[in-house]
Symmetry: C2
Subunit: 84 residues, 2 copies
């Protein structure tokens, strides 16, 4: 048993996503014309020691997102925690 967290880091809606635009254009050229928008973010899976309390896992996740995983100027994040 341990804590398993899924972290989603995405660009803020107001921030351009050139990587996503490039992929979207490539898909249009491949014939997938029904794609109206495509944005690329990060999906980070983090396992924590089971000895931690859920509240402490939550606190540490907020900290590591703010300090390292996300750039608060241009990105937002969300996470889910579960026991596995």
């Amino acid at each position: 048993m341990s804590w398993h967290a899924k972290v989603y880091v995405v660009l803020k809606p107001s921030v351009m996503d050139p990587q996503g635009s490039t992929v979207q254009r490539a898909l249009h050229q491949m014939g997938y014309s029904a794609i109206e928008n495509l944005r690329i973010g990060k999906f980070i899976e983090v396992n924590f020691d089971q000895a931690l309390q859920e509240q402490e896992v939550h606190k540490q996740l907020n900290e590591i997102c703010d300090k390292l995983l996300a750039n608060p100027n241009i990105e937002t994040y969300q996470f889910q925690i579960e026991r596995v």
Copy 2:
């Protein structure tokens, strides 16, 4: 209204993740010693024209993941579709 798909692309468990290992090491050095494992994948949001049937959205997502978004040699993917 349109179709909104969330696509998760992750490395297969047997594939090394040097980027994830580096981040995990950095977090340990920052004092987060309870982190047992960390892996980094992609989170891709795709909007499709609402005129498509759900079955067709499903089919196109499988195709674009196989052809472009994921590398089937080393990655797996999952997706969820919803009307927004």
